[in-house]
Amino acid sequence: MLRIEHIAKTFNPGTITEKRALTDVHLHLKPGDFVTVIGGNGAGKSTMLNAVAGVFPVDHGTIAIDGVDVTHLPEHKRAAFLGRVFQDPMTGTAATMNIEENMALAMRRGERRGLRWGISAMERRMYQEQLSMLGLGLENRMSSKVGLLSGGQRQALTLLMATLRTPKLLLLDEHTAALDPKTAAKVLELSDKIIAQQKLTALMITHNMTDALAYGNRLIMMHEGRIVVDVEGEQKKRLTREDLMSLFGKAAGKELDGDKLLLS
């Protein structure tokens, strides 16, 4: 479903702030793969997701989604294939627009936007149904501005918007990191439920090792712009924190300093 072939990205090349964010990332995802991504700060997790989303062009390599080479497509065109949820709850929604308008925008992802009315009565009923499944009471606040919602509510809404039109690939960039633990757990549960229901292919970055082990059928760990650990299936199910540490130590070529590197 996703084929990342040897991509590399260096920010600010030739300057004092030069940063080799991705050195050689190679990753193939099968349809239905739910991959958790872990790694320390600056390991290149977000850079990899943003490279797939087309936030910036890559220096080398190719990216294909469902057989379509998207390497040279601009961000807004790639959006047709993708659902995205960001770390900052403010990023995923338009605060000054109301809930139903935000959903209508998401509903038209990948379509031409013309002079038809921006939202139809039929859609409105559909959104209401979808919102009620979140169990947050948002279905009664469809014309409230999204800026009035809490961070958790906004993330849940963003998740719903990302999957309103079934995406080829769902990108979750530490989407629970800015939430309180209880809300984070709820949003994570919801993500897992939606991914299972729609049989989505998903990449989920997390700082939480326990979550990385508990969710998904595959786990990758990044270090210095490369994927250094990649386990899936039965092997992933049996994986423990200790295994992860020693795997990482071997791959990165040095002893791991406890949780610090992973959870920093």
């Binding site: 989303a53 601009p74 961000e75 807004h76 065109k77 959006a79 047709a80 993708l82 995205r84 960001f86 403010m90 990023t91 995923g92 929604t93 338009a94 605060a95 000054t96 627009m97 308008e101 209508a104 925008l105 998401a106 038209r108 992802r109 990948g110 379509e111 936007r113 013309g114 002079l115 038809r116 009315w117 921006g118 939202i119 918007m161």
Partner: protein, 306 residues
């Protein structure tokens, strides 16, 4: 100080306020909806005036001249939009560049003259300041009211369409918009075109109203536009929530602005000092939200601690 003199000047102030209010709606589109500060307007309003005046004195139909002014204004916005999105120049600078270039263009349009007379005696103009106090259908206040209602109606419709919604989203959150498949660059260019089209249209109406087009008629237009937007918001933000009413608030803001100007002139202010006064007033209004957050916020914090 003769109160009658002031009362006599009020209808003129209202009609001027309405014409500049239409221009301010253009400013509202870029500044408030798309979150882009566009300084093209100082040039494009004069372009609209120049295009309409030259077409009319060369025998063109007045309505066609208005349409031409609108289209040329859109072209001005397109240039600024290209500077910003394709050339990667910051929006404010892009507008300044176009505005500067338009000064030469406007002189060219008017045959290398700084102004062009457009007398209502010679041409069938749509509106003129001469009828400002007339109790008739050709009163510029009535005519402008029709223009404004039509403009607000069309914009209300447009910003409710899929394209319009995607433009509002572009202004609200660029990242989210791109993630939802919206071409934000295209929308920014479109909004600059729409805004400057409206600005040039108001320039075409202004030239007819005052009886001439002048290469300097747009100086400070952006500041007057901002004044109208901000006055409208300060006065009506609590009561006007509907988008159409918000646009109406901009018009009323511009009318209030011109009424206040009329009063301070009547009180004896030198006309030459007007722009200084306008700039100071707009600076204060723009500072208000910043100061409110800074000082009132600090006060609340102290309260919380105590």
């Amino acid at each position: 100080m003769d109160i009658l003199k002031l009362l006599n000047a009020l209808p003129g102030a209202v009609s001027q306020g309405m014409i500049w209010g239409l221009m301010a709606i253009g400013v509202y589109i870029t500044y408030r909806i798309l979150d882009v500060s566009d300084l093209t307007v100082d040039g494009s309003i004069a372009t609209g005036g120049a295009v309409a005046a030259m077409l009319i004195i060369n025998g063109c139909n007045v309505w066609l001249a208005l349409l031409a002014a609108f289209l040329v204004g859109m072209l001005c916005g397109f240039v600024t939009g290209m500077f910003h999105t394709f050339f990667g120049i910051p929006a404010i600078l892009s507008g300044i560049l176009t505005q500067l270039a338009l000064y030469s263009v406007n002189l060219r349009i008017m045959g290398n003259k700084a102004n062009t007379a457009l007398s209502v005696n010679k041409y069938p103009l749509i509106l003129t300041s001469r009828n400002a106090r007339a109790l008739a259908l050709n009163n510029p206040i009535l005519i402008m009211a029709v223009f404004i209602l039509v403009a607000i109606g069309l914009l209300y419709w447009f910003f409710g369409t899929e394209l319009g919604c995607s433009m509002r989203a572009t202004g609200a959150n660029r990242n989210m918009s791109r993630a939802q498949g919206i071409n934000t660059d295209k929308n920014i260019v479109l909004s600059l075109m729409l805004a400057n089209g409206i600005v040039a249209l108001s320039g075409a109406l202004l030239a007819q109203y005052q009886g001439f087009a002048d290469v300097g008629m747009g100086r400070g237009a952006i500041v007057i536009g901002l004044a109208a937007v901000i006055i409208g918001e300060v006065v009506f933000s609590k009561i006007f929530r509907n988008f159409g009413l918000k646009l109406l608030a901009v018009i009323i803001g511009a009318i209030i602005y011109y009424l206040v100007i009329q009063v301070v002139l009547w009180l004896g202010l030198n006309t030459n000092d007007l722009k200084l006064l306008t700039a100071l007033v707009v600076a204060l209004f723009l500072a208000a939200p910043h100061w409110k957050a800074k000082f009132l916020g600090a006060k609340e914090k102290r309260k919380g601690r105590g």
